[in-house]
Each structure stands twice: as C-alpha cells, then as structure tokens.
C-alpha cells in the first residue's frame, strides 16, 4: 500500500496548492457563516424552538448545507480524473506500476479529506453557542457529533459521485455539471417524504431522503439504515469509477 500513500500525498498537494481549493473554502465558509448568523438572529429574537437538537439541525441540516454541498462537492472532484485525461498525464500515471483501484481510492480519499478540512472551521459555531448559552440547556454534544457524522456521510457519497462523473469525461465542466445534477436530484428527492403522496410513497421516500436523514442525525438519532445507505452508495460509485478507468483501455 506504499503507492496509495505516495499517490495520496501527491493528490493532497495538488488540491491544497490550487487556488480552486481556497476559493471553495471561502465560498463554503461564507455560506455556512450566513447560516450561523441567521441562526443567531433567530435565537436572539427569542424563537420558540430553542431545544438543542433543533439548533443543530438549523446549523448543519438547513438549506445552506445543501447549497454549499451542491457547489463544493463538484468543485473539489471535477478535476480529479477528467483533468488527467485531458492533459495526458493519465497515461504517465497509469503506465506506472499502480492499480486503477489504488489511483481512484487515493484521489477519492484526498478529496474527502479536503471536504473534512472545509468543515473544521465550522466547529467554532457550536463552540460559540456553547459559550453563549442562548438557550437554557447546554448544546447536546452527542447530537452535535451525530450531526457531523451525517454531514460527512452525505459528503462522502456526494464526493464519490463527483469522482465518478470526473471519470466519464475529459471536460471538468461536464464533470462538475454531472455531479451537480446527481446531488441536486438527490437533494430534491429528499423532499418527497414531506409532500402528501400517500403513506407508502412517504415511507419509501424516507429511506433515501438526505434531507430527513440529516435532520435525524442532527437530533442525535444514529440509525444504521442511512449509514448503510451512504456507505453502499459511496462503494458502488467508486467501484463504477474503477470500472470506467479500466474500460478506457478497451475504447
């Protein structure tokens, strides 16, 4: 697994040294900062819903999270494979003694780590809330951890989708739009349980609703079903990506 480490280091270097990364970080923090500011505004006006879990839901599971994810995940992942194929460096990379799976996994892991780094500064928001105690009870640490777990799980699947779309085209723009479309459809489908459609539809839709999953996590509900849902989706998307890079040999 030495080659995985070597590749991961290279990919992290490529991400963190690119202006794209810092633009994405700025955008992300602007969106999440706005989200936090609106939450504080809500609390300072003495909003009714001041229960700890609801606050975390407002912080992590609001529309702002989805807005940030919709932009950030495609932007982080669009260059991963598409750019290597466009510039021809993929030929140099894939004629070294490395497996396709190792290359894909290294690229994915680097993108996921960068996504995690994006979230690091947001830890200051719950910390502020904890210090200020705008509501009676202290912020629930468990629910907070579960909320972040949900954020990472959904992000992991979204980034896998981005790496996948990056493997099917040479154009970064196409790759980004593809990832955007997938995440967008997933996000919109997340509202299905909230639209009156009949009992069966609502219950089925709940299994695949990112919106309700995230709100559940933010209330501290760690259900294995959504966890499995995101891990399985991540796994098959990465598998499909490896197959795509292998298929390139036959084209």
């Amino acid at each position: 697994m030495r080659s995985f480490g070597v590749l991961l280091r290279r990919e992290l270097g490529a991400i963190f040294l690119s202006p794209m990364a810092w633009t994405a970080l700025t955008f992300f923090l602007a969106v999440m900062g706005t989200s936090f500011w609106m939450l504080l505004d809500l609390l300072s006006r003495g909003a009714e819903r001041t229960e700890g879990g609801e606050v975390i839901g407002q912080l992590l599971g609001s529309i702002f999270f989805w807005l940030a994810l919709l932009i950030v995940a495609p932007v982080i992942t669009m260059r991963t494979i598409a750019e290597e194929r466009r510039s021809g460096t993929f030929e140099m990379l894939m004629t070294a003694p490395v497996r396709d799976g190792t290359v894909v996994l290294a690229k994915y892991t680097a993108a996921l780590l960068f996504y995690a780094v994006l979230w690091l500064p947001t830890l200051i928001y719950p910390l502020t809330l904890r210090l200020l105690r705008p509501f009676g009870a202290p912020l629930d640490g468990g629910a907070l951890a579960a909320g972040y777990l949900g954020v990472m799980l959904i992000g992991a699947a979204a980034i896998a989708a981005g790496v996948f779309t990056s493997s099917i085209t040479r154009s970064q723009v196409t790759a980004a739009l593809g990832a955007f479309a997938i995440i967008c459809v997933f996000f919109l489908a997340g509202f299905l349980p909230y639209i009156p459609h009949g009992e069966t539809v609502a219950r089925t839709a709940h299994y695949a609703s990112g919106v309700s999953h995230l709100l559940d996590f933010a209330r501290g509900v760690v259900d294995t079903r959504p966890i499995a849902f995101y891990l399985i989706n991540t796994a098959w998307l990465l598998w499909a990506t490896v197959r795509m890079t292998e298929a390139r040999r036959w084209k």
Binding site: S3, V6, G13, L17, R85, S87, P97, R249
Partner: protein, 332 residues
C-alpha cells in the same frame, strides 16, 4: 539476424490486433525484440506506433493477440510488466504544478524505488539528463526541451530493463535533438530500447534494427544496414551540364551501356539529367566521355547513395508520410 538475443526476448508480440471501433489501428502485428537491442519503430503518422507502444505498457488493451515483456503477460500481469518498463509518452505529459525534484521523487516512489536509494537515484537521473540546475523549478515553467528531459529522467528513475520512448525528440531544437540522441546512445549499454519516430535520420543515427509499420502492419523488420541495401538493385546517377539549346543530353545518355532511362530537365541554362541504371552499372566515366565529345560543360556527376528514406517511401507506398497529416488517435 545477428540480434543480441540471449534466452528469452525482452518483447514478444504475437498477432497483435487493435481496433478503435471499426478502424483498425494495429493489424496482426508480430515481432520480437531481444535484450540489449536498440530498435527503431518507424512509420508514417497514424501507422499505429503509439497504439502499439501503449499496448506494450498496458495503457491500452489489445483487441486480440499476446504481448509479453520480459516473460510477463501484459494482460495478466500488468503491474509486473510496468515495473520493467520506463515509458516516455508522446508529447511528454507531466504534472505541471510540481517542481522537478518533487516530481522525480514522486515518480520514483510510485515505481517502487526504496526510500534509502531515493536521493541517489533522483540525483543520478538528473545528472544523466542534464537537470541538475533546474531541480527547484516548477515543471510548468520549463521549456519544451527541459520537459522532455524530465520525462526521460522519469522513464529512467527506477532503472528499468526496457525503455519505450515515443517520439523522444519531437519539438526539440537541433542542439537538443543531438543531445537527446547522444543520451539515448549512452543508455544503450544498459537498457533495451524501443524508440518510435518518423524522422529517418534519427533511426539511422541511433538504432541498429528497424521495424517499419504502415497502416497497422509490419512491412519490414531488419537491421538498418540491410534495409539500406534492399534498394541496391537500382543505381541512380545525376549529371548537370550545359548544352546548346537544341541538344538533348537525355537521348545521348540513354543509349549508354547499363542505362535504363534518362530524363533531362532545365535549371536555368544548366540541364540536370537523371539516369536509372542496371544493378552494378557505373556510367559516370561514359557520361564524362560523351560530354567531352559533344563539347558540353559538365559541372557535376553524382551517384546517389541508397538512403533509408527511399526504402521507407517504397515500403509505405509514399502515402501519408508527410508530417501532421493523419493525427494519431490520442485516446486515453
């Protein structure tokens, strides 16, 4: 064939075919390259050179046929094969955001150079390829010549037995071309080299054996010297002389012994006569005698050497041999 083959060949290609959709890029190609050989892979653009090389490195899969590198099957053991190969792709794509040292260390690690030998290996290939002064430079800011050298250093860094170089001198200036050729010749002692090009003097300068590919088929495989002799059948002589306007030197020379055809054309007041002669004929002294008899001023009589280019054009039927005509498919 006088090959330096000892035991198992370095490259064994048998009945290799590769199609892109309906287009056939490589058509039932078979050849062997022994250890220690320097082989030129020659052919017009679009002949299938790059496709073949990519298959050898496992970057493309063959539609049918087998490829073995140092006894490893390319399809079944791609990783084992790649350990033996140092590959310089066409146009030399590199990570332009990395520094030269950083890139070479990355590639060395990726190719399994042990950490303790890392510094030594990277320094050695930098020395070999003339990169010692640019170690701290960012690759994207280097000139084309330096990029090519970094690519070559990358191909050499894990001390592979086999070097596959796709158009190693393309886009270089004449001095750099000479340096690159010298470098390749110096590598010949320790590596087997397969080198593709469509520049003929390059092959004559570097390689001892040539494979000529045309439209995916192997049309010749022989030593450079023997290929040149292939055309020894015909002797070509050119004479330049000054005659009176009404006189036709062509007909006068056509009747000389051994001459098959003679055609004359004008170059100002001078005339240039081209003669094709029987094998072994040498009409040069006769040409001089006839010129003196007619009172013509003779300024040149030249017998043409057989050039590899003639062989090449004859074998590839002259079609599509001009540069940049049919861009080779660069799919990845």
């Amino acid at each position: 064939m006088g090959d330096v083959t000892t035991g198992q060949p370095m490259i064994r290609v048998s009945h290799l075919t590769r199609r892109y959709g309906r287009a056939v890029a490589v058509d039932d190609l078979s050849f062997e390259i022994g250890r220690g050989e320097i082989v030129g892979f020659l052919g017009p653009n679009g002949a299938g050179k790059t496709t073949t090389m990519r298959i050898l490195c496992g970057f493309l899969a063959a539609t049918s046929g087998d490829v073995e590198i140092a006894g490893h099957d390319v399809h079944r053991d791609p990783i084992g094969v790649r350990r033996h190969i140092g590959y310089l792709p066409e146009r030399c794509p590199l990570y332009s955001d990395m520094r030269v040292d950083e890139f070479l260390r990355f590639r060395a690690a990726l190719k399994g150079v042990p950490a303790r030998q890392m510094r030594e290996r990277v320094e050695a290939v930098k020395e070999q390829c003339g990169l010692t002064d640019v170690g701290r430079r960012i690759i994207g800011q280097l000139s084309k010549g330096y990029c090519q050298r970094v690519g070559l250093a990358d191909a050499l860094v894990h001390e592979p037995e086999l070097l596959i170089l796709d158009e190693p001198t393309i886009g270089l200036d004449p001095t750099q071309i000479r340096q690159t050729r010298d470098l390749i010749r110096s590598l010949a002692a320790r590596h087997t080299i397969l080198l593709s090009t469509h520049i003929l003097p390059e092959v004559e300068a570097v390689c001892r054996r040539v494979l000529i590919l045309d439209r995916g088929r192997l049309v010749a495989s022989d030593s450079t010297d023997r290929l040149r002799q292939l055309r020894r059948g015909i002797v070509r002589v050119t004479a330049e002389l000054k005659t009176a306007p009404h006189e036709d030197p062509g007909t006068a020379f056509a009747v000389l012994p051994g001459v098959r055809t003679a055609t004359a054309d004008k170059d100002g007041e001078w005339r240039r006569v081209r003669l094709e002669c029987e094998p072994g004929a040498d009409p040069r002294s006769d040409i001089f005698r006839v010129a003196v008899e007619h009172g013509w001023t003779l300024r040149e009589v030249r017998m043409e050497e057989n050039r590899l280019e003639d062989v090449f054009i004859a074998l590839t039927s002259g079609g599509g041999s001009s540069a940049g005509e049919t861009p080779e498919r660069s799919d990845s």
